[in-house]
Amino acid sequence: MEHEMEVDERKESVASENHLFKWSEWQLLDSILPTGGFAHAFGLEAAIQARFISEPADFKTYLIHVLENTASLLLPFVYATTVSPNMNAWKECDKILEAMMTNETSRKASISQGSALLRMSASVFVEVPLFKIMRDTLLASGTVSVHHAPLFGLVCGLLGFDSGTSQRAYMFITMRDVISAATRLNLVGPLGASVLQHEIAHVAEGLVKKWMNRPMEEACQTYPLLDTIQGCHSYLFSRLFCS
């Protein structure tokens, strides 16, 4: 009888720890978290000005292509740092991604979002002292770039998320930010955006299943046009977004 009660208590305490994770997870995925994601459009603005997108169906196609490219190029980095959430693994991933992000616009966007995420994590997730140490020693040093995807994986890993959650979360925030940019660029209204987001959730899940848990050596671009069009962002005469 007593033994059964002990087991129950232990189960409850594990369950409540899991429930506590959920609050951190939701906060990390919430768009009000100040990581500067709202400033980036993933090449959407350039795609509109180059007439790649002239109607809502074009935007849906574009979004799916961006998600697939994110999955093929960046999920390996999220995965690597989630499963090995330590400085050395993270530095190595950061260095490799710096060499892989050959498009200047997306590289700068990645660094700006990564740095913002680190600053935010150091202030918010105080139960992980490493964030503060990293922020204080690395941000200004210039020895690392602080790219978004590896840092995101590291934050998830240190907060105790499993790799499936962290990779899905990365895809989710990408989808969230592209759709948010689309509403601000008048491509789709807020309600239409929500409908679309739900509509393609199964596509995003399919992409995660296909590209998750791969080593960094397999990271590749599957939508090379995105590199070209995103690289055009700096040629835009007038623009709302940074990338």
Partner: protein, 304 residues
């Protein structure tokens, strides 16, 4: 087992081939008289027997360019990849070493390597993968063109192949500098043709190193000017935009710097074939002021 290798070194002050070997399915031809005799450059042509790469062919080639040497590597014609039989994938793996000695990468070699093959064309159902690894010393310079066309356009083939993967890795003093991998595979969520949005050629041009500083500046300016004219700022209100009926530009390109202090520039280009087969052609001449290093033409965009 390598199917080919070439070593270029300075012999009596001139870039010369000191070792070369090739075997089926690769053939390397190194003609003596290409370009003006005032320029000091070795030209290497890579050919495949039968004019193309057959299902299951595996080609691996190692090349070394010694200190102060200039080498141009190109092809006799476009690399055609024939249909895949039994899901076999054809591969080309090329490893380039710019160094003082053949097997050891050392400091500062002042060499220039220009890799300007014709584009790869994968026929219907083909599977092809290529990897090029460049190991540079600190002041090596390199020009790399890597491009692919959609297929036998005249018979209606457009991005009809099964798999194309192109990987380009550049290491500077053994540190990763530029790692790019493009994968076009049929059977994913969207098909290849959809992802290409009607463009028939995609190309990547890399300009890296001290010898290419001037060219980098010229190319950046040229691309910027060209794209300023192509990009259109939408007027307020969606309705107006629709009635304009504007189509995508026939060619889009963008330029990005990479590496410490932006020592490299990568240009990405996508081009359409329009009805009149109008040629978008850009010639870049590399003229080394006062130095007998090289005078090369580089075709940036496909002439059809």
């Amino acid at each position: 087992m390598e199917t080919g290798f070439v070593v270029v070194e300075k012999v009596r002050g001139k870039s010369s081939v000191t070792q070369s070997f090739s075997k089926y399915p690769l053939k390397l031809i190194i003609p003596n008289k290409v370009g003006s005799n005032k320029t000091d450059a070795v030209w290497i042509y890579s050919l495949t027997y039968g004019g193309g790469i057959v299902s299951g062919d595996i080609i691996s080639c190692g090349l070394t360019v010694g200190d102060d040497c200039t080498t141009v590597f190109t092809t006799q014609s476009s690399t055609k990849v024939y249909k895949s039989v039994g899901f076999k994938c054809s591969e080309q793996n090329l490893e380039w070493r710019l160094s003082r000695h053949a097997r050891v990468a050392l400091i500062g070699s002042n060499a220039l390597l220009v890799v300007v093959p014709d584009p790869v064309t994968c026929f219907s159902t083909a599977r092809y993968s290529q990897k090029q690894v460049f190991r540079l010393a600190s002041n090596s310079s390199v020009v790399i063109v890597d491009w692919i066309t959609s297929g036998r356009h005249e018979i209606g083939e457009s991005w009809d192949f099964k798999l194309y993967k192109s990987t380009n890795h550049i290491f500077l003093e053994d540190q990763p500098l530029f790692l790019d991998s493009v994968l076009l595979e049929d059977g994913s969520i969207t098909n290849i043709s959809e992802r290409m949005q009607g463009y028939q050629v995609i190309a990547m041009v890399i300009l890296l190193g001290p010898k290419l500083k001037e060219v980098q500046i010229q190319v950046k300016e040229h691309v910027k000017r060209m794209m300023y004219e192509q990009l259109y700022t939408p007027t307020l209100g969606c309705k107006k935009r629709k009635s304009f009926g504007q189509t995508k530009p026939d060619m889009i390109a963008s330029c990005s710097a990479f590496g410490p202090k932006g020592i490299g520039v990568v240009v990405r280009i996508s081009k359409n074939y329009n009805r009149s087969r109008c040629i978008g052609f850009r010639d870049l001449r590399l003229t080394k002021d006062g130095a007998p290093q090289g005078h090369h033409h580089i075709t940036d965009v496909i002439p059809e």
